[in-house]
C-alpha cells in the first residue's frame, strides 16, 4: 500500500536527532508494548509480513503522529481483533469480557531464548532458476497494490543493476495476505542516485534495495 510508512525521499521532517546515551526503552510501557507484541506472535499465529502490514495500514495522519511503539500496539490490536482474540469492548473495559479463543501455544519464559535464537529464516529451497544474474540491468516495476509490498515508491520505474543474487525467500506480498509463502528469488539491486533523484544529485550516491523477482523486469 502507498502509506505514510513508505518514507524514502520525503521532505520536511527536519534533522535526525541522535539522543546521547539513549536507553533501550523510553518508559515502562514501551517495554511491555515491545514484549507483548513479540509474545503474542506465538498464540496469534500471524507472520512478520502480516505484522508489518498491520502497522503500516492506517491513515497517513495517524501514522505520522504516533510514536513507534504506539504503532506497534495499534498493529497488535488490529491483528488480535481480526482473529477474534480481543474485541473493542474489552479494550475499552480493560478486562476480558468473554471466554478466550483457544490458542495453540503460549510463550513461556523457558521458550524465550530458544525462540529468539531460532528467529524466522525466510530462505527456502527451490528448483526454479533465477531469472537475473549479477550485473544484469533491471527496471523496478510500477505497481501500486492496496496490499502489502516491499517495493518502495522511490524506485518504481527506475533502472538499476543486480548487485547480488540472494537465494529464494518468502514473498511478503503473498505471505502478508495469508496466501502462502510463495518463495521467490531475491536480489540486491543497486541504483545510481541520479537515476532516483535527478541529475543534480551527488554523483557519489548509490542506493540498493532488496527486491523479489516479481518486482523486476529486464531493462
Amino acid at each position: 500500500m502507498n502509506g505514510a510508512h513508505d518514507m524514502g525521499g520525503m521532505h520536511g521532517f527536519g534533522p535526525v536527532e541522535p539522543e546521547p546515551n539513549e536507553p533501550v526503552f523510553h518508559g515502562e510501557w514501551e517495554k511491555r508494548a515491545f514484549a507483548l507484541t513479540l509474545a503474542m506472535g506465538m498464540p496469534g499465529g500471524w507472520n512478520i509480513d502480516m505484522s508489518r502490514f498491520a502497522r503500516e495500514n492506517r491513515p497517513p495522519g495517524d501514522y505520522l503522529s504516533m510514536t513507534y511503539y504506539q504503532i506497534w500496539l495499534a498493529g497488535l490490536i488490529d491483528l488480535m481483533k481480526e482473529r477474534g482474540l480481543v474485541s473493542d469492548d474489552e479494550i475499552a473495559a480493560g478486562h476480558s469480557l468473554r471466554p478466550a479463543k483457544p490458542v495453540k501455544r503460549v510463550l513461556s519464559p523457558a521458550d524465550v531464548a530458544q525462540t529468539l535464537h531460532r528467529g524466522g529464516p525466510t530462505a527456502r529451497e527451490t528448483n526454479s532458476k533465477a531469472a537475473f544474474a549479477a550485473g544484469d540491468k533491471v527496471r523496478a516495476k510500477v505497481i501500486n497494490p492496496l496490499t502489502h509490498t516491499r517495493l518502495p515508491r522511490y524506485v518504481r520505474g527506475r533502472v538499476g543493476v543486480i548487485e547480488s543474487v540472494r537465494g529464494c525467500h518468502v514473498f511478503p506480498d503473498s505471505n502478508s495476505q495469508g496466501l502462502g509463502e510463495d518463495p521467490r528469488w531475491l536480489y540486491t539491486v543497486k541504483f545510481d542516485g541520479r537515476e532516483l533523484w535527478g541529475a543534480d544529485t551527488d554523483p557519489t550516491l548509490s542506493v540498493s534495495i532488496d527486491a523479489w523477482e516479481p518486482y523486476l523486469v529486464r531493462a
Binding site: 539522543e19 503500516e56 540472494r166
Partner: protein, 213 residues
C-alpha cells in the same frame, strides 16, 4: 488510539497522585486482558525485555568487527557468508537469520536504513535507537546521506562513494568500519571498545585510540 478512557470506572488507580501516563494505562489494560485470556505469561515478557536490555546489543556487533580487524580468515568468511561467520561467534536468530557484512574502505562508505519500517540487525546491534526508526532518518538517508551524516557530525571526503542499503527484505546489514590507525598489536577486546553502534550502521566512525584515554 482515537479516544481516551478517562471515564473507565473499574480502574482503581486513576487517582491524581498517579504518575502513570495514558500509554502506561492503555498498555497495562491490554496486558491485563491478555493475561486474563491466558494468551501471555508475564514472566516471558520480563524475559524478553531483559534479553534486549542486557544481553543482545551493540557489543555483539563490536566483537564481530574487532575479529574482522585481526583475523583475515574470519574477515574473508564474513564478507562471503555473513550469517555463517557471525553465527560462529554465537550470534544470529531473530532479525539476524540472514546477515550481510558491508566493508567500508578508503573509497566506499556504507550506510544502512529501512525506509519502510525499522528493519535492523537485532542479533548483532540489539534494538534500534529512536532516530533509526524516525521519519527524518527514514526519509532522508536514501536521498541525502551526506546531510544525514552532518546531523551526526560526520563529514566524509567529497569523492568517497556513499552506498546506502535500504533493508527491504529479511537480509540484515552490518557495516564493518575501517580499523583506526595506531591500533597495531591491540587485542580484540581492546579493539572492540573502539567500535561504536553508529559506526556499524554507517552514521558514525569508530573511536580513535586517543578517545579511550
Amino acid at each position: 488510539m482515537t479516544h481516551d478512557h478517562h471515564d473507565d470506572h473499574h480502574h482503581s488507580h486513576h487517582d491524581h497522585g498517579s504518575d502513570l501516563t495514558e500509554m502506561q494505562l492503555r498498555t497495562r489494560a491490554l496486558e491485563t486482558i491478555l493475561l486474563e485470556k491466558g494468551y501471555i505469561d508475564p514472566a516471558a515478557l520480563d524475559e524478553l525485555v531483559d534479553i534486549y536490555e542486557k544481553k543482545i546489543g551493540p557489543r555483539n556487533g563490536a566483537q564481530v568487527v574487532a575479529k574482522a580487524w585481526v583475523d583475515p580468515k574470519f574477515r574473508k568468511l564474513l564478507f562471503e557468508d555473513g550469517t555463517a561467520a557471525i553465527g560462529s561467534l554465537g550470534f544470529g536468530g531473530r532479525s539476524g537469520n540472514h546477515l550481510v557484512a558491508l566493508e567500508n574502505t578508503p573509497t566506499v562508505h556504507n550506510m544502512v536504513v529501512c525506509t519502510l519500517c525499522s528493519c535492523y540487525p537485532w542479533a548483532v546491534l540489539g534494538l534500534p535507537p529512536l532516530w533509526y526508526k524516525s521519519a527524518p532518518y527514514r526519509a532522508r538517508t536514501v536521498a541525502d546521506p551526506r546531510g544525514v551524516l552532518r546531523d551526526f557530525g560526520v563529514e566524509l571526503p567529497k569523492d568517497t562513494e556513499i552506498q546506502v542499503w535500504d533493508s527491504t527484505a529479511e537480509l540484515r546489514y552490518l557495516v564493518v568500519p575501517m580499523r583506526p590507525a595506531g591500533t597495531e598489536g591491540w587485542s580484540e577486546e581492546k579493539l572492540a571498545e573502539l567500535v561504536t553502534r553508529d559506526s556499524m550502521i554507517g552514521t558514525g566512525l569508530p573511536k580513535q585510540p586517543k578517545d579511550l584515554q
